[in-house]
């Protein structure tokens, strides 16, 4: 089973290598982008709740390792990932925690930061990567490569165009999922 999936990925990566657009090229394009600021809308579908939750706000990325998420609707709150420290601020109170103490959370949030930075090695520490589409319309699929992480998240799909990420879809192991749409702000 394991070798089968390995073979599958080998074939997949072999096939995309022939295409004009591979993981390395995507990473270079992402890395070339530098600091980014964009509006986002995230929709969460939770089994616990009868209706989806919609959050909107702004994402800020400052190379090499700072990612900020500032929600404005429905409530103001922010998350700042700086190096190894994750600071969550809501209702005027802020909490800081070390990513190392929460490896699964680190893998989840860290994946987005690594993608923005175009760091292939960081992504491949926790995920197996596969790419499809072309430069104008690509889709990067992340599958956890360890069981601890697989108990939290089943897959992450990043999509976008050129060096811009436009969508982040996360499917969690308990069936809950979230869809984030990102529009570069002019």
């Amino acid at each position: 089973m394991k070798s089968l999936s390995a073979l599958f990925f080998l074939l997949l990566s072999a096939s995309v290598a022939h295409a004009d657009w591979d993981v390395d090229q995507l990473m270079r394009a992402l890395a070339a982008n530098g600091a980014k600021r964009a509006a986002f809308t995230e929709t969460r579908y939770l089994a616990l709740l009868d209706q989806p939750l919609v959050v909107s706000g702004e994402l800020v990325y400052v190379p090499p390792d700072r990612l900020e998420r500032h929600a404005t609707q429905p409530v103001e709150e922010s998350m700042v990932l700086d190096g190894e420290r994750l600071r969550l601020t809501r209702e005027g109170k802020s909490h800081e925690l070390g990513l190392r103490d929460y490896p699964e959370v680190a893998a989840l949030i860290g994946a987005i930061r690594a993608a923005l930075a175009g760091e292939r090695a960081a992504l491949e520490r926790d995920y197996a990567l596969s790419i499809s589409g072309d430069r104008a319309r690509w889709r990067l699929n992340l599958l956890p490569n360890n069981t601890a992480l697989a108990q939290i998240v089943l897959r992450i799909d990043l999509s976008g165009s050129e060096g811009h990420i436009e969508g982040v879809d996360v499917l969690q192991a308990d069936g809950d999922r979230s869809e984030m749409r990102i529009a570069p702000r002019q």
Partner: protein, 803 residues
């Protein structure tokens, strides 16, 4: 009364045997508590207790750094290496019974802590009251929880939502949250050190020893355990470039003890060999040398025996002063031998001069003995008993112990040379008064304060170690607890109840900007009554179920999904309140222990206050006034003392009291010596001739220390007193008796020998790294020489010297 030789020896051996027996049965110590007063104020007692036995006294701060710049301790590799060593070191120490707790930033307690906080969240959370579980209260907190689920933090909250939908655990964590040191690679690393510039990073670790802070052997064992564990932990990456640093009260105490022990031994060895060498040169005979040591040995043993009997315990530093006594006690034998060596009995004036010299010295030591500080009192008693015993031995036993036909190498040729020099010196009669005035001018016009104003100045802990301690403390973010409110209670729960009752007062002070913030043990462990009241406000299962139905009507969450919440509340209502015992093994226990001082019969709750943001200080009067008003308004279980403590002030006040006492005692000692001299010498001019060399010597030493930029500590002052006590002996010999007889040549010789042995006794102290010993040495050794010089210059002009 003349004893026969065998009887004199028998008596002496009996005396030595008795004294040695007492000395051997005494306890010996080397801790620093001798510098703390015997009868402190309530706040000072607390300070002393904390220093000796508090949780703080059991803390060892550990730093691991990488010296190898090539290896790039700043680079990621270097940090990983340090982090690995820190983790391995912590793992070894956690398995060691000599430590109660090891913290290096790893989340080892996280699971235990979280489980405990989760189980007891309804008893611990200050948010719990009846309103929170009303329909409106439930709706509000459920809405907040749903909003939380939409946030990035939702990932943490989700697994617990059905059991804790009101978010009690998160509310509780928010109130307990403390910012710790920075974490790199999962362990604490110093914030200082910029890796980009290749500066060394330090991995930090806190160890709490099982041994009390006062148990120095236990502390020493803990230090050794950390060193051994470090050697094992860094085997793989190689220890060569890694450096282990340790600090903390226990470390200081252990190192001080080792320093005092080695210094006292070294000083005694150097002083003794110097004196023995000097005596051999003077006497040129081993039997005479041994006889000369008779008063010294008797005096030293008598000193130790007296301290042992008087204090129950002999301090190492007291023994350090033993050699100084040696230098003085040996003088009496020198005076006697030089007299006897000439084949004559001592002249009538001889013993009365010795007696007066001994009495002036005794006055000085008696003043020290009256001190409230055991360190000085021991020094006083030791010297007093030692000196009197040595003098009595010389007077009554030693003459009878000398063999028939006793003679020593004739010092007269030397004495004649000295007498010539002395006559020349009298031409400098104008010098001492002039020098005294100049030195007085220098001392009075000194810019910086003359006295070192901190208790720390007495500490034998080297400056480098104090700096290391400060650096590690800052890196660990250990709060500088300068301000405390102390609330005594009969037991833990009583103290916690009082701490809770004081909370509104502290909130108001914080609101008014008088204080920046405050902490309380009740935050981590509320009193039983408070916990019971919170649990009593929880609704029954049926009530809660009904209210949830109503509250969730307009929310996207269905009440049916919250059945685990009903189970949790039911369980919480049945669970007994949390006690200190149930906290064992959690980091919350540490927080509680740090703020509760349990002395066995009484518990003190400690509430640290922080200064308002813009200032560094708290207005103590405002806090005291608020406490007084609070005490007046409380009654019953909440009534009792409430003490505001400013630890820095207390420590400074302690030193101030110490300084004041020593100034008073030194003054009293000097006045007593002058009174004594006036009574015996009768004529004012004779008193002036004895006192002027002493005063000039003291002023010269003070001016020299001042010019060298040294700040004086108490022990310099004690040194001044000793200059008077020791130096008055020389001045008295120059006085020459009532008839104003000329000083005999052999007296010059014996004075020179006596002076040299005194300098040999005090001199080695100058090179001590223990400030207390160094201060005495650097004052008394030069002072003794100067007194002799000035006394020579001021000697009564002799007819023979007149041209």
């Amino acid at each position: 009364m003349k004893l026969s030789r065998p009887i004199a020896f028998t008596l002496w051996f009996a005396l030595i045997g008795a004294l040695a027996t007492v000395a051997l049965h005494a306890d010996y110590t080397a801790d620093m508590s001798v510098f703390l007063p015997r009868s402190p104020s309530a706040a000072q007692r607390l300070l002393v207790d904390q220093l000796k036995d508090g949780l703080v006294s059991r803390m060892i701060l550990v730093g691991i750094s990488d010296n190898d710049s090539d290896n790039g301790s700043g680079s990621d590799n270097g940090s990983v290496r340090l982090a690995d060593v820190s983790r391995r070191l912590a793992a070894i120490l956690r398995a060691d019974a000599r430590f109660d707790e090891i913290n290096n930033g790893e989340a080892t307690h996280l699971e235990v802590d979280r489980q405990l906080l989760f189980d007891y969240r309804y008893a611990l959370s200050p948010a719990v009251d009846a309103a929170r579980f009303s329909v409106d209260g439930l709706r509000t907190s459920l809405q907040a929880t749903i909003a939380l689920l939409a946030s990035p933090a939702g990932l943490f909250a989700k697994p617990l939502v059905t059991r804790d939908p009101t978010g009690e655990l998160l509310a509780l964590l928010a109130t307990l949250d403390h910012p710790g040191p920075r974490t790199v690679d999962g362990v604490w690393m110093s914030a200082g050190g910029d890796p980009a510039n290749g500066e060394a990073r330090t991995a930090l670790l806190l160890a709490l020893t099982a041994a009390r802070g006062g148990d120095l052997d236990g502390q020493e064992a803990a230090m050794a355990a950390i060193r051994a564990a470090f050697a094992t932990a860094c085997e793989t990456p190689g220890c060569a470039t890694l450096k282990l640093e340790m600090s903390g009260p226990g470390i200081f105490a252990v190192n001080s003890r080792a320093t005092i022990k080695s210094e006292v031994t070294r000083i005694a060895a150097i002083g003794t060999s110097l004196i023995v060498m000097l005596l051999l040169i003077v006497y040129r005979s081993a039997p005479v040398l041994l006889l000369g040591l008779v008063p010294v040995i008797t005096g030293s043993l008598a000193g130790i025996a007296a301290v042992g009997l008087g204090f129950g315990v002999v301090h190492g530093l007291t023994l350090g002063f033993g050699t100084t006594l040696l230098g003085e006690a040996v003088d009496y034998a020198i005076y006697l031998f030089v007299q006897r060596g000439r084949g004559t009995d001592a002249p009538t004036g001889f013993w009365s001069t010795i007696r007066l010299a001994m009495m002036t010295s005794a006055c000085g030591f008696l003043a020290l003995f009256a001190s409230n500080f055991p360190g000085l009192a021991q020094l006083g008693l030791y010297s007093l008993a030692g000196l009197i015993t040595a003098a009595l031995t010389t007077r009554y036993l030693l003459p009878a112990m000398l063999p028939p036909g006793f003679h020593i190498h004739d010092p007269v040729p030397l004495g004649l040379g000295l007498a010539r020099l002395a006559r020349l010196a009298t031409r400098l009669r104008w010098l001492p008064p002039a020098l005294a005035l100049i030195c007085l001018f220098i001392v009075v016009n000194r810019d910086e304060p003359m006295w070192q104003g901190e208790l720390l100045a007495l500490s034998p802990v080297p400056i480098a170690d104090q700096m290391l301690d400060q650096r590690l403390r800052r890196d660990l973010g250990a709060p500088d607890t300068r301000y405390l409110i102390v609330l005594p209670g009969a037991d833990i729960d009583a103290a916690l109840t009082r701490a809770e009752a004081l909370a509104p007062v502290l909130d108001r002070l914080q609101h008014e900007g008088r204080i920046g913030g405050w902490d309380s043990p009740a935050r981590y462990l509320p009193s039983l009554a408070t916990q019971r009241a919170r649990l009593a406000s929880l609704p029954s299962r049926a009530q809660l179920s009904q209210r949830l139905e109503t509250a969730t009507a307009d929310l996207p969450i269905a009440a049916a999904r919250l059945t685990p919440f009903l189970d949790e509340i039911e369980r919480a209502r049945a669970r007994p309140p949390l006690t200190r015992a149930a906290l064992a093994g959690t980091s919350i226990a540490l927080a509680v222990d740090a703020l509760l001082l349990d002395s066995g019969h009484e518990v003190h709750a400690l509430l640290p206050l922080t200064a308002p943001g813009d200032t560094q200080t708290i207005d103590g009067e405002a806090v005291r006034a608020a406490l007084a008003a609070w005490r007046a308004s409380t009654a019953g279980a909440q009534a009792g003392e409430a003490i505001f403590v400013d630890l820095k002030n207390e420590s400074d006040a302690l030193y101030g009291a110490y300084l004041g006492e020593v100034i008073r005692l030194t003054g009293a000692g000097i006045v007593a010596i002058i009174v004594l001299l006036s009574i015996f010498l009768r004529r004012p001019m004779r008193v002036v001739r004895v006192v002027l060399p002493l005063a000039t010597a003291i002023l010269t030493v003070l001016a020299a220390l001042s010019l060298a930029g040294m700040q004086l500590i108490l022990l310099h002052l004690v040194g001044m007193l000793l200059i008077v006590a020791v130096g008055s002996n020389y001045a008295l010999f120059f006085d020459g008796g009532e008839q104003g007889a000329a000083v005999a040549p052999h007296t010059y010789a014996s004075l020179l020998f006596a002076n040299l042995t005194t300098v040999a006794g005090y001199g080695p102290l100058i090179f001590s790294t223990v400030p207390v010993l160094q201060a005495i040495g650097i004052t008394v050794a030069p002072g003794a020489i100067l007194v002799l010089l000035f006394a020579t210059m001021l000697a009564r002009p002799q007819p023979a010297s007149k041209p």
